[in-house]
């Protein structure tokens, strides 16, 4: 359609542009600005130059949070991809009931992370006894308070976060697997493949691109991981489950250090841009 007047498209766009710029873009630029300032959230902002950034480079807490976040990213990505693909593969192998099972598999995805955390808090509780420690007792193991144990807390936070989201990747992989052309698979069978060979050498390569799509979502999501750690363990015990986002949030809103908090927020922004860039680069290499 040709516009009657030049201004017409802009009238349609204006409300969305105003909201988008004022709520998303402008605050982001403000954050970058604040990252160069000393500011406790109430008083005056004073220009601090690169002070916050040099503090960031030598911040031991940030290093711990970053390393935790890398563990969260690696284990979370592997766990969710594996679970998603496994569930999708199982369902793609049956005809009857795959819809019903898909609906059931997806349940954790639609529940708030708050509810998931509260449920797992009770499932894992040792005093009074929750289901998981009770099962450990049945197997004559000593119940462990996983969430307050320095060794296990981060793993459980990662797995609970992954548990909540893996259904999503099941849906994505399932759709991709069902889209692989039947002719290709039949041709593989005629050539004498058994179904395991057909799966690994025909089907999986055919959905190669989906792996990268999922990888981008996962890397992006894990680098911003927040809810489960913040709700379930508050970053603890000590800082065993501290992630970059929870550390940034606490720095700004619990310790009222808005200046340094903004610097950490910039760190999150740059970190996720770089990570997604890397994944996309690898994808390009692979698809050539």
């Amino acid at each position: 359609m040709k516009p009657k007047r030049k201004i017409e498209p802009w009238l349609f766009l204006l409300p969305a542009l105003v909201v988008y710029v004022s709520i998303v873009l402008f605050p982001m630029l403000q954050t970058i600005g604040y990252s160069f300032m000393d500011w406790n959230g109430i008083g005056e902002k004073t220009f601090a130059g690169l002070k916050n950034y040099s503090r960031m480079l030598s911040d031991k807490n940030l290093r711990t949070a970053f390393l935790n976040n890398m563990f969260f990213l690696l284990l979370g990505t592997v766990f969710q991809m594996f679970m998603g693909l496994l569930m999708a593969t199982l369902l793609s192998g049956i005809k009857k009931g795959s819809n019903l099972f898909r609906v059931l598999y997806f349940i954790p995805c639609i529940i708030s992370s708050m509810a998931v955390c509260k449920i797992f808090e009770k499932l894992l509780s040792v005093q009074p006894l929750g289901v998981i420690p009770a099962l450990m007792k049945l197997m004559h193991l000593k119940p462990i308070a996983f969430l307050s144990d320095f060794k296990y807390a981060l793993t459980w936070v990662t797995l609970i976060d992954g548990y909540k989201f893996c259904g999503l990747y099941m849906v994505i992989f399932y759709a991709a697997l069902m889209n692989v052309s039947k002719d290709t698979i039949e041709a593989a069978y005629i050539d004498g493949c058994n179904w395991i060979q057909a799966y690994f050498f025909v089907k999986l390569p055919a959905i190669k691109n989906m792996f990268f799509v999922v990888l981008v979502i996962l890397v992006n999501g894990c680098l911003k991981g927040f809810d489960v750690s913040y709700i379930l363990t508050g970053g603890g015990p000590g800082n065993a489950t501290e992630l970059v986002a929870t550390y940034m949030y606490k720095t700004a809103f619990s310790m009222s250090n808005f200046g340094y908090g903004s610097t950490l927020a910039v760190f999150i922004l740059i970190e996720s841009l770089i990570a997604v860039g890397i994944v996309k680069l690898i994808q390009k290499k692979f698809s050539d």
Partner: protein, 280 residues
């Protein structure tokens, strides 16, 4: 199973795994549901995985009468409706302009919006807090509605554009010949035709709005303004240690609306969320 050409043995192994995952994925919700029906004695005395002896509703009565759960619930409803309305009202016209009105910068405008998908919420939270504080918006619905609209726009505009592209131009031109301007064509032809996209946009966003935690936790500190997720946190913090029964029933009350929506619209919810995730 013919697609796999697998033998009986494989079939059975598949089935066992499938059932295992059904249990794994639905057990926590099932458990909290049955646990919410246990009497205080059962919760204290029986094994945590045991089934309740009877339908005991006392926990629900307690959760409803001794807390502001009803208030939290209403807050969540108001926030969800306003946010969804805002998203549709802003993104559909914008997508129409990008996909159907011919102007030079349309590609650039779309790219400009899509940039927003790469910006994490956390890199905007501090200035938002400051602005809402100065404007007196903290502890008002606007404080959780506005950011959610803003951050949903890129995705929703993208989804709408993806659909509107394929509406044949002849249809709009016919409207134009009848004397309709762009505003009428949008309102009477394109928006009604994009009904399915609107359904996708609404469902995809409903789940995440209903479950939203960060903004509500940051901007809603007054008890009477809390939405369900953070209200649940307050409730569990208060009751959690002494009254597990009431806690379980509060969790059930909090997750029930999404479960009900999901029960009726499971296909749209799954596909909507997957489509939303894939496109980001």
């Amino acid at each position: 199973m013919e697609t796999l050409q697998a033998g009986k043995k494989t079939k059975i192994i598949f089935l066992i795994f499938i059932i295992f995952f059904v249990v794994l994925q639905s057990y926590p919700v099932f458990w909290v549901l049955i646990a919410s029906l246990k009497t205080p004695e059962e919760i204290a005395g029986s094994a945590p995985y045991a089934l309740p002896g009877s339908f005991y509703l006392g926990n629900y009565i307690k959760a409803f009468t001794q807390s502001s759960l009803v208030r939290y619930f209403l807050n969540s409803v108001v926030v969800a409706i306003c946010t969804l309305f805002g998203i549709v009202v802003l993104s559909a016209p914008a997508a129409y302009a990008i996909s159907k009105i011919r102007f030079k910068q349309s590609e650039k405008v779309l790219t400009f919006f899509l940039l927003g998908m790469m910006i994490p919420t956390f890199s905007c939270l501090i200035p938002m807090f400051q602005t809402y504080n100065t404007l007196g918006l903290r502890n008002t619905y606007a404080a959780v509605i506005l950011p959610q609209i803003g951050f949903s726009l890129p995705m929703c505009i993208f989804l709408y554009v993806g659909f509107m592209k394929y509406i044949p131009n002849e249809l709009l031109e016919a409207g134009a010949i009848d004397g309709a301007g762009n505003f009428r064509i949008f309102r009477q032809i394109v928006f009604p035709m994009a009904k399915n996209s609107t359904v996708t946009v609404v469902i995809y966003n409903f789940v995440s709005i209903w479950n939203e935690f960060t903004y509500a936790n940051t901007f809603m500190t007054k008890d009477e303004m809390k939405t369900l997720p953070i209200g649940l946190n307050a409730f569990v913090g208060e009751m959690g240690r002494r009254d597990w029964g009431a806690t379980f029933s509060a969790i059930v009350i909090a997750i029930l609306p999404t479960i009900i929506v999901y029960f009726f619209l499971n296909k749209q919810v799954m596909e909507g969320m997957a489509a939303g995730a894939v496109k980001s």
